[in-house]
């Protein structure tokens, strides 16, 4: 009795320990990715030609003035030190100063635009999930719809946001007048109305990708042997589809959806530009031409962090969906 209890306890703690270790290792990997990637961004921006001090110093600056500005901007210290300085400011929300708008901090510039962009991205993510799954499930569940859905998604996959934008604007905004052609709106319903076309434009290609993956993985799953077992046991087709096809296909579907959402923030920049929306993406693009690199750095880091966090969430979701990933020695 005591013996079995003991072995049960040790087995339990062994598994928990393994799990904790796996989580820690994964988080460490994520943090490392963020640090290396943001440092790469930092280094690239620091290596950019042109001296920001020269831009600030006005006409005919004296060397003393330049040196003073270098010191003010911290440019006289080594790159790695400056990077870790910047990194240590992150938890406090200190993203540095804008060089172009001298009296506003980067955080001040990001703040109001953050909401608009997040609204757009979340809106698009919801559309992708709903439409992509709907089209994918239709094509995957009904044999007759497989061909048409494959054709539809192949075309939609080739429609980038910046091409979808003029098509949607000329058809639904200028043609039918259902939606505004530019701007982001204010207040929830107004924003919803303004951002519908941008969200559609942003969603369309990703939607097609998700639909394609959903359709093909449903079909692959349907052909698998365990689905034959379930059918052979006389389960009703709807139950077989829900419990054995859809449930198993959820694993690849969630992977692709996660990658989609992870890349959405970067894609949003293009769509913001196309619809004249003042968001994080347009701010970044403007700051590139204005050489306001602290702003570029902040938005770029945000994009990277969003990517890493999303992929980590998907990994976590996977261990929920796939029991084989939950235990040691399971399939990798």
């Amino acid at each position: 009795m005591t013996l079995t209890l003991h072995s049960a306890v040790s087995r339990f703690s062994g598994r928990t320990l393994w799990r904790i270790r796996a989580i820690v290792r994964r988080l460490a990997g994520a943090v490392l990715t963020v640090v290396v990637a943001t440092f790469a961004v930092y280094a690239a921006l620091a290596a950019a030609p042109g001296d920001p001090a020269l831009a600030l110093a006005g006409r005919n600056p004296t060397p003393e003035r330049i040196a003073q500005l270098h010191q003010e901007l911290g440019l006289d210290r080594p790159l790695v030190v400056r990077y870790f300085d910047w990194l240590s400011g992150l938890p406090r929300g200190d993203l540095g100063q804008s060089i172009v708008y001298r009296n506003s901090s980067v955080a001040d510039l990001l703040g109001p635009r953050f909401g608009t962009t997040v609204f757009l991205v979340v809106y698009a993510a919801v559309l992708i999930l709903l439409l992509g799954l709907l089209l994918g499930v239709l094509g995957g569940a009904f044999r007759r719809l497989n061909g048409p859905m494959a054709a539809l998604t192949s075309v939609a996959l080739a429609i980038p946001g910046f091409v979808a934008a003029p098509i949607l604007v000329s058809a639904l905004a200028l043609g039918l007048g259902w939606f505004p052609a530019v701007g982001a709106g204010s207040g929830f319903t107004d924003q919803l109305w303004h951002l519908t076309l941008p969200a559609l434009a942003l969603a369309i290609g990703w939607c097609a990708w998700l639909a394609q993956i959903t359709r093909t993985s449903l079909r692959a799953e349907k052909a698998s042997e365990h689905v034959g077992t379930a059918t052979g046991r006389g389960l009703p087709p709807v139950t077989v589809f829900r419990r054995h096809v859809l449930r198993n296909a959820a694993i690849p579907i969630s992977t692709v959806y996660g990658l989609t959402v992870a890349g959405l923030l970067a894609g949003a920049a293009v769509v913001e530009q196309a619809f004249g929306i003042d968001g994080l993406g347009t701010l970044m693009l403007r700051s590139v031409s204005a050489k306001d690199y602290n702003v570029v750095l902040a938005v770029a880091s945000l994009i990277i962090i969003a990517f890493v966090v999303t992929t980590q969430l998907v990994d976590a979701l996977h261990t929920v969906l796939d029991p084989r990933l939950r235990t040691k020695g399971g399939r990798k």
């Binding site: 990997g29 990715t33 963020v34 290396v36 990637a37 790469a40 961004v41 690239a44 921006l45 290596a47 950019a48 030609p49 192949s154 075309v155 996959l157 080739a158 429609i159 980038p160 946001g161 910046f162 091409v163 003029p166 098509i167 604007v169 000329s170 200028l174 052609a181 530019v182 290609g205 890349g263 923030l265 970067a266 894609g267 920049a269 293009v270 530009q273 196309a274 970044m284 693009l285 590139v288 031409s289 690199y293 570029v296 770029a300 994009i303 990277i304 990517f307 890493v308």
Partner: protein, 288 residues
Amino acid sequence: MTAVTSTPVTASPPSRLRRWRKADPVLILSVLWCALAILVAVAAPLLAPYDPSQTDILAAAQGLSAQHWFGTDEVGRDIFTRVLYGARLSLLGPVLVVVIATAAGTALAIAAVWFGGWFDRLLTRVLDIAFAFPPLLLAVLSVVLFGPGLTAPVVALAVAYTPYIARVVRSAALRERHLPYIESCTLAGLSGPRICVRHILPNVLPLVRAQAVTSLGSSLLDLGAISFVGLGIQPPSAEWGLMVADGRTALLNGSPQESLAAGFMIIITVVAFNMLGERLAERAEVRA
């Protein structure tokens, strides 16, 4: 036994014949479109009715007509001409990106598989980090370093695509590496690079080809987006992504032809590349 065989077992000749007879229309259309696009890009000066940069204020923002098939833009340039000329830069960019990324990705992947160990682990780790950079972000950094134009986005996308190609090739090469014949090559005294080039590479090549063609499509999209936001090719050059952006003012004034003409060229060309890539991938799979 051979003498008494009354019904010869013929399997391959008729199936091959059948494949040709009911050739895939989508594939044929895709190949034709790709060929046409390349032809247009090469022979644009011969085919185009106007000079792509010739402005004509009197004929600005016209609709579709016999003189101007796709109408004219805000400064009176012929849109059809610019669409034809646009094929040059619009296709050159993706080709450059894919050539660089495919070469780099394949070489890295095969080297990683051959050497294994720390080199393979390091590469996998670096690829993981590289995946965190969306193409547009790399383009932004590249433009910061090299300035806008064709070079910066091409470099950025080559860097962005290398990990994807490397990952696909790596797993295929890994399978190949562990096949018994590679070991017999080693035992026969062939050198490592020779085995990689003469034996592993040819076997992963169909997959590389499929991946490259598909990447042509996505790099056309990404390069278009980069031009569209103003980080790539600069006006007054003709390039499809740039033309979509150029047409925005006219679009809001009710004449969307420039944006739409360039946009549809992008869509159709990408569909053609993707279809071609898909079929090549299917064949590569059948082989493997």
